[in-house]
């Protein structure tokens, strides 16, 4: 009886598995189609942006829309870039991002070290206070922060653009998570040799944390490069504006000339996309390291 039943069950299982394999192949095919269609929908706007950027300003008004321009007009790029001082916009963005990255690497790593490795009164309470600020919407601090910058007389300066960026609670959290995973042995050895906490932080923990620091650097770079509202309100001089604000101004000047706008959009995207390609793995790491433990 028992063996019989088993045989029947095994047969059933086999046929089910076979069915599953057929379904599996079909399913896999479906998955690929789905993923490829999605990839296409991600790419099409970019392709269209690039093809429009080379077109004549009347050529774009054709229906059905065209993907390949009659003539590739490189001058769209030249003109779009010279009408507003885009070189200066890029320089500003580089300076702001560099300031933000350096500031965050220092400020965040210091605090993260304290929260991960030191023991002191109210440490966890302070850390909870830090984390709670992640829930505070940026808009509420915007007007007072603007008034502060204004009161300092920092309007239209790099101070205004960089200072608010130099700390990020998210970055502190990221580095703390990483510092916690480092083995304590090295530190203990250094302590026996009489090294101070700062020496341990600077000479041992930081060099061991290059991947995490790189992740933070990438995120703070992207964050400050793409920031829009803050630079919009603390600058009103053309030569102090970063790229993101610059291209928005370009849009308000040239709202109907799509080839120029698309050319400017392409130029603006190129550097940030290159950085992303070079640093992709740090990106993914950053998201998974903090996202999961949320």
């Amino acid at each position: 009886m028992i063996t019989n039943l088993n045989v029947i069950n095994r047969d059933r299982l086999k046929s089910r598995l076979r069915k599953k394999r057929v379904m599996g192949t079909l399913g896999r095919f479906g998955i690929y189609i789905f993923l490829l269609l999605l990839a296409l929908s991600m790419l099409i706007p970019f392709i269209w942006m690039i093809s429009t950027s080379f077109m004549d300003d009347l050529e774009i008004y054709s229906y059905p829309p065209k993907f390949i321009p009659q003539k590739f007009l490189w001058r769209n790029y030249l003109e779009a870039m010279t009408i507003l001082p885009f070189k200066r916009f890029f320089l500003n963005s580089v300076i702001i991002s560099a300031g933000a990255v350096l500031g965050q690497l220092l400020f965040c790593s210091l605090a993260a070290y304290a929260f991960a490795r030191l023991r002191f009164r109210w440490r966890d309470k302070i850390f909870a206070l830090y984390l709670s600020t992640m829930m505070i919407p940026g808009i509420i601090t915007l007007i007072p922060a603007f008034l502060i910058i204004n009161a300092f007389g920092w309007m239209n300066t790099y101070w205004a653009l960089i200072t608010p960026m130099v700390t990020s609670v998210w970055g502190i959290f990221l580095l703390r998570q990483f510092f916690m995973t480092l083995p304590r042995e090295l530190e203990d050895a250094a302590k026996i040799d009489g090294a101070s906490e700062f020496t341990i932080y600077w000479r041992i923990v930081l060099p061991l944390s290059k991947p995490a620091l790189a992740t933070l650097a990438i995120f703070s770079f992207m964050g400050s490069w793409k920031d829009f509202l803050w630079p919009l309100i603390v600058t009103n001089k053309m030569e102090m504006r970063p790229v993101e604000v610059g291209i928005a101004m370009f849009h308000s000047i040239y709202s109907t000339n799509w080839p120029y706008q698309m050319a400017a959009a392409v130029v603006v995207m190129i550097p940030i996309v290159i950085v992303f390609f070079m640093a992709q793995r740090y990106f993914i790491k950053g998201i998974t390291l903090t996202g999961l433990k949320g």
Partner: protein
């Protein structure tokens, strides 16, 4: 890879920084620098730079910089003046004149006119008059434009319709528009329209005057009885009916300024469009290349009405308190002189105010289009914006009212009467405000004191903690505080005290350029309750947040698909990620173009599926959804990576076990994947909802809150109030309300999902 040697990177960045600082110092060494502010478009900037170069050639010791301010011109100039950093010469347009002239922040140029021997008779008298108050002259005129009707000659020729005469009437106009509205390819959809009607006031203002109606009372203090007078309603009724009744004007694209009508005109889909002289240069370019053939006619007049048009002008002014007064005036004189006018005439954006140059422009015009503009000058009136400060607020209400009739289907009288009431309220507020002197920007010492107290408080708490500790603990405390001090002080200045200070602000009437900042208690919050625009913004924000669950569902689906050990995961992941890393503003531009109602790709692709065409950003019913779609598209990559990491954290053994138990794929998903993914889902949900509540950039770039306020979200509304209307107290109250809503939303999410998560 990139940061393998981060020392090198750091050095590189420092190097760039040092080069920059060096060049900056070198520049600062230059003698006199004069800044010229204008709001100008792109071609104009190039020409103004040429004019500046001409001036610098004459006076090598002076450096002139052109500083275009394309948006919020009025506010930027006002705050610049209030902060004591005005531009040395500024372009004055009809909108900013009342704000500056009435408040006496401009230098009276009359005394200098004689000293420098400026001949005022070279200008058209009624153009000069805009900045003339009694015997004081506050600006030297640059140029102007009356409003005219452009028409596509080829469409007229095709139908054998004669071109409009100088004295054509509204009936003629309607008749021609009807004849030129056609279904060219016989597919049952009208694809060629006789004309277009846009809801913006600057276009329909002269039509109202032609019917002897008006928008405000002669003294500019009241709208009721004027905006809702039978004459005004008749004029706008005629225009609205072009779209609603006669259907000779297109519906969707005309609503927005995304360039819809321009493109339709070039391609022969709209026959007649009202516009100013600024359109002529680009049209001339297309006429030259043979793409279109264009004629210009004066605006038609009603058969029993008078002939009127409106004239928008601009001129150069010098604000009080500039560092180099003499030079600034010299520059202003030069910028409005004959030589400058000639250089500017090359672009032909407007009609020069210098009579002789304007006449040269007419004789040099091979197409004979310029003369119409000159002929209109005697009939041109000064627009309301030139007389009433912050008239733009009235303008917005008028625009909404027209939309309510045209799209909302309201009766014209009801909509206009209500709008007139709103206008009266705004005007009353404005006259009250007028009494406040144009003080200088207060160095807001209050906030510095506030921050000082906050830092002191933090330090005191630290010291108390230190004292309360045992001796053994103290060493730890000192090192701990040393490490967290920089970030803690930073957070105190930029997060903790601002949150509190925002609350303080919300109890005040806080205008950055008015010295008195009275305490109003809960007044701002009470006003919020009755602010229909704020409620509208809240509603839009709530709707917008619905993009989060949809986007998360798609991202989860993608993550599950990606988790099936398929080939090319890395490439796909990069592709999906691309939108979320590239520039937000640039992406918004691309999608605005993608969503173009006539020539955009979105309608074309959906056309294959038999869907659309949609108006996308130009229709109030679809604009917000369009932005939500883009937001979802941008977020998929980011959310997918988080979900994928979450999925990979689920032990394979669980699936094996359930498979043996005979659970179906759906059951596995429902009973294993979802519950175990809960922390990830929760994280994505909370962060995305917070981000959604604060959407700004896409709205700012793509729709500016329109059409009909259908995309006016809270943060955009706060931005407008704080930096356009300079009502920072009121805006802070809004920010606090939003803050509380976000807190409540987060709390609810914790309550329903988070309990097991933490």
């Amino acid at each position: 890879m990139l940061f393998r040697s981060y020392k090198k990177t750091v050095f590189l960045l420092l190097f760039i920084l040092s080069i920059y600082i060096k060049t900056e110092i070198l520049h600062a060494g230059n003698s006199i620098t004069l800044r010229v502010a204008n709001w100008a478009g792109a071609e104009e900037v190039i020409l103004e730079k040429q004019i500046a170069a001409e001036f610098m050639r004459m006076y090598p010791e002076v450096k002139v910089r052109i500083e275009p301010i394309p948006s919020n011109y009025r506010e930027k100039i006002l705050t610049g003046i209030a902060a004591g950093k005005p531009p040395d010469v500024l372009l004055l347009d009809s909108v900013i004149i009342p704000a500056l002239v009435n408040k006496g922040v401009l230098v009276d140029l009359m005394p200098y006119v004689e000293r420098y021997g400026v001949d005022l008779s070279i200008y058209y008298p009624n153009v000069l008059a805009i900045a003339l108050r009694d015997s004081s002259l506050y600006a030297l005129p640059k140029d102007f434009t009356p409003m005219v009707m452009y028409y596509n000659k080829r469409l007229f020729d095709d139908m054998g319709i004669p071109y409009p005469e100088d004295d054509w009437t509204w009936d003629d106009y309607l008749e021609i528009a009807k004849r030129l509205t056609k279904d060219r390819d016989n597919d049952g959809v009208i694809d060629q329209f006789g004309t277009a009607f846009l809801n913006t006031l600057y276009l329909w203002q002269p039509w109202v005057w032609m019917m002897s109606g008006d928008i405000l009372s002669p003294d500019g203090t009241r709208a009721t009885g004027y905006f809702n007078s039978p004459e005004t309603e008749a004029a706008l009724g005629f225009l609205i009916d072009l779209r609603r009744k006669y259907k000779v004007a297109p519906h969707g694209p005309a609503l927005s300024a995304v360039g819809g009508t321009g493109g339709m005109f070039y391609t022969g889909r709209i026959a007649m469009i009202e516009s100013g002289h600024w359109w002529l240069p680009i049209l001339k370019k297309y006429i030259k290349s043979g793409d279109v053939d264009v004629g210009v006619a004066p605006l038609p007049r009603p058969s029993d009405g008078e002939k009127v048009t409106v004239m928008y002008e601009s001129g150069w002014a010098v604000p009080v308190g500039v560092t180099h007064l003499e030079w600034s005036i010299k520059l202003a004189v030069f910028f409005s002189g004959k030589k400058a006018a000639r250089i500017r005439a090359r672009s032909g954006i407007a009609v020069p105010a210098v009579i002789s140059v304007a006449e040269e422009q007419v004789t040099d015009d091979p197409y004979g289009l310029e003369k119409v503009f000159i002929k209109e000058i005697p009939y041109a009136r000064m627009p309301w914006g030139t007389k009433v400060d912050e008239f733009s607020r009235v303008e917005v209400i008028a625009k909404d009212a027209v939309d309510e009739v045209m799209i909302g289907g309201k009766s014209i009288h009801a909509a206009f009467t209500e709008a007139a009431r709103f206008m009266d309220q705004e005007l009353l507020k404005l006259t009250r405000k007028e009494k406040a002197p144009a003080g200088s920007l207060m160095k807001s010492t209050q906030i510095i004191i506030f921050i000082g107290i906050s830092i002191l408080l933090v330090v005191t708490i630290g010291i108390v903690g230190f004292i309360l500790s045992s001796r053994k603990q103290r060493r730890g405390i000192l090192t701990g505080y040393f490490f967290i001090a920089p970030s803690f002080i930073h957070l105190t200045i930029f997060v903790f005290s601002p949150v509190i200070f925002a609350l303080f602000l919300s109890f005040h009437q806080w205008n950055i350029i008015v010295p008195e900042k009275p305490f109003v208690g809960l007044g701002n919050f009470k006003a919020l309750l009755n602010d229909r625009y704020f409620w509208n913004a809240l509603k839009n924000t709530a709707i917008f947040t619905l993009n989060v669950p949809v986007g998360m569902a798609i991202s989860l689906l993608v993550a599950i698909a990606m988790n099936q050990r398929i080939k090319g995961v890395n490439l796909l992941r990069t592709l999906y990620f691309l939108p979320s890393v590239s520039s937000f503003v640039a992406i918004s531009l691309v999608w605005t173009w993608l969503y173009h109602p006539q020539f955009g790709l979105a309608n074309y692709i959906l056309g294959f599926l038999g869907l659309g065409p949609f108006g996308w950003l130009s229709e109030p019913s679809t604009a917000l959804i369009s932005i939500m779609i883009m937001t979802i598209w941008m977020g998929i990559g980011y959310q997918m990576v988080i979900f994928l990491a979450g999925l990979q954290g689920i032990p394979e053994g669980l699936y094996e076990a359930s498979r043996i138990d005979g659970a179906s794929a759906w059951q596995r998903f429902w009973n294993i994947t979802l519950p175990l993914l809960k922390p990830t889902t929760f994280f994505v949900l909370v962060t995305s909802v917070i981000a959604s509540f604060q959407v700004f950039t896409s709205i700012y770039v793509m729709t500016e809150g329109g059409p009909m306020r259908s995309t006016d979200v809270v943060v955009y509304h706060i931005y407008k109030n704080a930096w356009d209307y300079l009502k920072m107290g009121y805006a802070s109250a809004m920010a606090w309300v939003l803050f509380l809503i976000i807190m409540a939303a987060t709390w609810i999410q914790f309550k329903f999902m988070g309990r097991e998560v933490e």
